[in-house]
């Protein structure tokens, strides 16, 4: 009844910053970043990336409360740099990393598909193909403009027991 909406988990409300930071009042070159509407997926990823940097002396993250959908990342760096600089670098590196992984995966997928066509196992459908490989409509020509094809088998199947009064 008064349950919070589940989309609060990942929809950033209007006017809220995705990421903000507060410098530590007591420690120099230390700051706490708050990332809204994210969880351990990104929190742990950023923490690891920050810890790879020699100039980062501390990096840790937490989800303060399971019902509050944000993570906080604490960062401390050496005095030659600043936490926000290292955070920006970590995020940029992660974007580079994910781009690289995506590209690698697409390449590998193409290779695996090619191999499986010459062999005899397999297959994930082409991304832009119209139908699931095991879908009954698979044998039909992939035309979008044929509404009569909709669920071809299903129509016949259903007519056995629909539209009949007793």
């Amino acid at each position: 009844m008064n349950a919070p909406d589940r989309f609060e988990l990942f929809i950033l409300p209007d006017g809220v910053k995705k990421i903000s930071y507060v410098p530590d009042p007591n420690v120099d070159k230390a700051a706490t970043f708050t990332i809204e509407k994210e969880d351990h997926t990104i929190g742990n990823l950023i923490r690891y990336q920050l810890l790879k940097e020699n100039q980062v002396t501390f990096a840790g993250y937490k989800m303060p409360h399971p019902l509050e959908h944000h993570v906080t990342v604490k960062v401390q760096t050496v005095k030659e740099t600043a936490p926000e600089t290292m955070m920006a670098k970590a995020l940029n590196d992660l974007i580079g990393l994910t781009g690289h992984l995506r590209q690698k995966f697409v390449e590998e997928l193409a290779k695996a598909k090619a191999a499986s066509i010459s062999g005899d196992t397999l297959l994930i459908p082409e991304h832009d193909s119209l139908h699931h490989p095991h879908h009954p409509q698979q044998t039909m020509p992939p035309t979008l403009s044929a509404p009569s094809n909709v669920g071809g088998g299903a129509v016949a199947n259903l007519q056995q027991h629909v539209d009949m009064d007793f």
Binding site: Y21, L97, H132, G151, N157, V162
Partner: protein, 252 residues
């Protein structure tokens, strides 16, 4: 940007890091696909960290958008099952989501409630007329308004997932609205059944502690990925600085 009261943080496009090497000159992460079929993939992710592997796993489970029935209008239900029970069962039916990228999220669409740009309508109408034999209403009986999105079926003979059973005279007529969503909101939008990854099959890093009755080697035979890495020798020193960098994924 660096004021003492804190403030906003932006990832500037013209900062100094755009050309930085995310891999610090080390080996670049790699993916090798080992097995691939229509419902399963096995791959090895190398030269990266545990956090990346885990983030990938969490993303596949919870943040890849798919299409699932989200609203059900029950026009007629004289079956023995309650309306909300049937609505829940309909929601869990896997729909072909290859085109999910081309469908908008309803919340991002301009329409007032839902429209063909952000939803797919599926209808179901079944009535049992046979004496002494119940009619099985299955996911194949759902008729989609969009040929790109329909219930996933194995082959032409597959009737799909059983939704309800009707006895003579019972009728079920529903209109379902399928929408795009992510599994963070509801698990029905999860694109995969199971995602598992393993690393360090020989427990070289001592990240796990085996329960042993008498003989470790007898009680813990090598796992399916054990042949990918050299087995431990008995006098191998423990490298406490080692980190996992080879992850064996299985996604169904």
């Amino acid at each position: 940007m660096n004021n003492i009261n804190g403030g906003s943080f932006s990832l500037g496009l013209n900062n100094n890091f755009n050309n930085s090497d995310p891999f610090n000159g080390g080996p670049k992460p790699d993916i090798i696909i080992q097995e691939l079929d229509s419902e399963k993939i096995k791959f090895i992710l190398t030269n990266t960290e545990l956090s990346v592997a885990n983030a990938l796993r969490r993303l596949m489970i919870a943040e890849v958008p798919t299409i699932a029935i989200d609203m059900v209008e029950i026009e007629l239900n004289t079956s023995v099952l309650a309306d909300e029970f049937i609505a829940h069962r309909l929601g869990l039916i896997p729909l072909d989501s290859m085109e999910a990228e081309k469908i908008k999220y309803t919340r991002e669409c301009n329409c007032s409630q839902y429209c063909p740009n952000c939803s797919v309508e599926l209808t179901l109408h079944a009535k049992c007329v046979q004496d002494g034999q119940s009619l099985e209403v299955c996911s194949r009986d759902l008729q989609s308004s969009d040929p790109r999105v329909s219930p996933v079926l194995k082959d032409d003979n597959d009737k799909g997932i059983l939704i309800a059973k009707l006895r003579k005279g019972q009728e079920l007529k529903v209109k379902c609205v399928a929408k795009k969503g992510v599994a963070k909101e509801h698990a029905k939008w999860s694109p995969c059944a199971a995602v598992a990854f393993e690393y360090d099959p020989h427990n070289r890093l001592r990240h796990t502690h085996y329960w042993i009755e008498e003989d470790e080697k007898k009680e813990w035979p090598p796992g399916p990925n054990a042949n990918q890495e050299p087995p431990m020798t008995d006098d191998e020193p423990f490298d406490y600085n080692a980190t996992p960098n080879k992850f064996y994924f299985t996604v169904e």
